[in-house]
Amino acid sequence: MSAPKRILILYAHPRSRTSIVQTQMRAAISGIENVTIHDLYATYPDFMIDVRREQALLLEHDVIIFQHPFYWYSSPAIIKEWQDLVLESGWAYGNGGVALQGKFLGSAISTGGTREAYLETGRNRFTIEELLRPFDQTAYLCGMAYMAPFVIHAGRQMDDGQLSGHAEKYRDIIMGLRDGRINPLKHLAENHTPSPDFKAAYKAAQKGEKNAF
């Protein structure tokens, strides 16, 4: 058994109070040991993101998850701002940018539309994983592995029981990732092959862990 993985949830919702689905999801994973929920809109209401602090947080965790409503086929604005500022060249990518290599990146999102709407034949024409390609590639460039996204479709149309069932499932996945019950390598996003940088860093980390025991 390996040590528990530390998980960072980067939570972004500009109108947190009006959200039903995201609030449930967030409640489901609150107060779990080794799971840090970081509410970006609450921490940086003026968008003045503290880059060093964010980088330090990233270093302290093994799995990074963007949790947010799926706005306009992407994330709310603050996540883009966060990426633009925190994922610096020379730190996250580029020459000497090795800080995040070997870590896992994931997305936990809620959509208004149904699953059917996100099919080639649906009104949104593309699948969720196709629309998440920018996140997929961001992970790749930073030497991280991008996991299959967790998606709750049309949560507002569900009854309480259904919705809490989905939230429970989210909690199970997070706990499983934390405890090693779920091997993230076996649940990567469609067509995502991690970069050689990831593989090397991941292997080195595994070895280091074994040696430690």
């Binding site: 609450a42 706005y71 809620s110 959509t111 208004g112 539309g113 149904t114 009104r123 949104n124 507002r156």
Partner: protein, 617 residues
């Protein structure tokens, strides 16, 4: 001097100045030439209203002394350091080069080497009074050629110190006539040298440690006359001290000026002394004109004309050679040459000094004085020649070159009032590298803030001359940050009238004050309490459980909305009922606006999602 004769003398001088200067300026000759001619006219040679200018000269030299003090005030040690290369390089080249050439010519005409060196050095000086005044009138001071010329003048002014200290060493007879009344009379040469250096250090030390607290005390009294009196007292005091050790008072005051240049009272001093300086300088130029000894000319006109022509020609040649050697453009080189090719008022000081030391004979000294005075009288004509005849030839070429303006006072922003409000503004601008000049009328405030390293000056910001001195002409904006409404209003008036290009940013002490500014056309007005109240409310709302981002937007919206209401209400200033209506309507409006931003007013939004119309959740 009897009071009556003083009054009639003053009348003649003032009348001459008032008549001659405007005519000369209108004819495009510059005021200096006007004064000189007026001096010749009222002097013994022509009208004979005044006798030889000797006694007046002494009085008028005080104008030069004051000018040097003011020149010193303009020269913070830091600026001096910036100009170190032109000063030492160009200035050194000029003094050494001119002294060598003139010295050689003197030696060749049969003088001893001591006399040759002495005369060379004396004639190397140019007239700071004439050149600075002329440059000011032609607005040349901030151009690159102006800076070069100024550097040379400055080096000459500084070179006086070692000259006065070292010339006694050339004397065969150390006991001097002119120093008979001084404390150091009768001392051997080395002791006199020591005394000179000692006096200089006294001025520097007292300027550094004694004058600032004195100024603060005087300024705290809050009366302008006392301040002016104190400023004059300093100059007179230094003059007396210098006379006691037989040193040039101009030099002493110049030093004191440099020492005080970094003081917060600099602008105030400059303004208070400027009229005195101007008036006394006028008298000085008149006295120079009146003092030209025409009997000496009459005795041997050819010899004197030859000497003056030779002197000026040598100087012109050396200057031009130097200007070209340091790579000046032709137009600049010509200007530089014609500006500096005359004898200076320091020459008078030095001549009587060395005559006292016995280095020069009385006749030679008188001749030398006549040469210098005539060259000074001719200087404005030479400058005119350059300006009207030579410069036009370069006009086309130099248009690009002339744009080469060196900003000495390139402050972008003036802050009037440096209390709690203005200080924050100043700190922010400073932190962002925006050059700022600060004016405040509270002497103690100014003093305490300077300890924190702020660059600020003492004075009433509604005074035109202080605004001018602070660089209002070149600045982009002014912040009126006083809490005193009346003073703020006066500053606004002064700015509107004299510096309409300045963008005004105003502190309003309350809503009504803000209305006043808005109705006066000042759009950038800030209620002093408003922003901090909103910020506190914002943090408070978060502390009691509101979401930070929601409240962040709410605060921004509130701010915007309230500003709009204020602008609306300002149009009805005085109509209390109407304003109440607007404010009341605004209050309910803002609640709706905020609710709408929170997304609360659209009750049907969930339905919209249900119908799967929107891609978000």
């Amino acid at each position: 001097m009897h009071f009556d004769t003083f009054l009639s003398g003053a009348f003649v001088y003032l009348a001459a100045a008032v008549i001659a200067a405007p005519i000369a300026v209108r004819l495009g000759l510059g005021s200096v030439l006007g004064y000189l001619v007026a001096g010749i006219v009222i002097g013994p040679a022509v009208a004979g209203f005044i006798k030889a200018g000797e006694s007046v000269m002494h009085f008028a030299e005080f104008g030069v002394i004051m000018m040097l003090f003011l020149v010193g005030l303009e020269l913070q040690p830091s600026k001096l350091w910036e100009l170190r290369r032109p000063i030492i390089g160009l200035g050194g080249l000029q003094v050494v080069g001119t002294a060598a050439v003139i010295g050689l010519a003197t030696y060749a005409s049969g003088f001893g080497w001591q006399q040759a060196i002495t005369i060379g050095l004396i004639l190397a000086m140019s007239s700071t009074a004439i050149v600075l005044q002329s440059m000011q009138e032609r607005a040349l001071l901030k151009t690159s050629v102006g800076q070069s010329t100024f550097s040379v003048l400055l080096f000459q002014d500084i070179a006086i110190i070692p000259m006065l200290a070292l010339l006694p060493l050339l004397a065969k007879n150390p006991v001097s006539e002119s120093q008979a009344g001084t404390l150091i009379a009768g001392l051997p040469a080395w002791a006199q040298t020591l005394a000179v250096l000692g006096a200089v250090s006294i001025i520097i030390l007292s300027g550094r440690y004694l004058m600032r607290p004195l100024f603060r005390m005087v300024a705290a009294a809050g009366s302008r006359e006392i301040f002016v009196a104190f400023a004059l007292l300093i100059v007179v005091g230094i003059t007396l001290l210098m006379q006691q050790v037989g040193l040039s008072a101009a030099l002493g005051t110049f030093l004191a000026g440099v020492v005080l240049a970094e003081s917060e009272y600099r602008h105030e001093l400059e303004m208070d002394l400027d009229p005195f300086k101007g008036l006394l300088l006028a008298v000085f130029f008149i006295a120079v004109g009146a003092g030209i000894d025409f009997s000496l000319i009459a005795k041997d006109p050819l010899k004197l004309i030859g000497l003056v022509t030779g002197f000026i020609t040598l100087k012109l040649l050396v200057m031009f050679f130097i200007a070209k050697a340091v790579g000046m453009a032709k137009a600049d080189a010509s200007r530089f040459t014609f500006l500096l090719s005359q004898g200076g008022e320091f020459a008078f000081v030095l001549i009587s000094f060395v005559a006292g030391l016995g280095i020069l004979g009385v006749d030679d000294a008188a001749l030398l004085i006549a040469v210098v005075a005539l060259s000074m009288a001719l200087a404005p004509l030479l400058m005119l020649f350059d300006e009207k005849i030579i410069q036009p030839r370069f006009a086309k070429v130099s248009q690009d070159g002339e744009a080469d303006v060196i900003d000495q006072n390139d402050a972008k922003v003036i802050i009037a009032g440096y209390g709690r409000f203005g200080m924050t503004i100043g700190r922010f601008l400073l932190a962002n590298g925006i050059k700022t000049v600060v004016l405040d009328h509270d002497a103690e405030q100014v003093e305490s803030l300077r300890k924190f390293g702020f660059k600020l000056f003492y004075g009433d910001a509604s005074r035109l001359d202080l605004l001018e001195a602070a660089g209002a002409r070149d600045a982009k904006a002014i912040v009126i940050a006083l809490k005193d409404r009346e003073k703020s209003e006066r500053i606004l008036e002064a700015v509107r009238m004299h510096f309409p290009h300045l963008k005004v940013f105003a502190r309003a002490v309350d809503r009504v004050h803000a209305y006043e500014y808005l109705n006066n056309g000042v759009d950038t007005v800030y209620r002093e309490m408003f922003d901090s109240s909103v910020r506190l409310a914002q943090d408070l709302a978060v502390a009691v459980g509101k979401h930070p981002y929601e409240i962040h937007r709410a605060a921004a919206l509130f701010r915007k909305h309230d500003e709009a209401i204020m602008r609306k209400a300002a149009k009805h200033q005085g109509d209390v009922g109407r304003i109440m209506d607007i404010v009341r309507a605004g209050r309910s409006e803002i609640s709706n606006v905020l609710a709408s931003d929170r997304g609360e007013e659209v009750v049907d939004e969930t339905k919209a999602w249900l119908s799967d119309n929107r891609p978000d959740a």
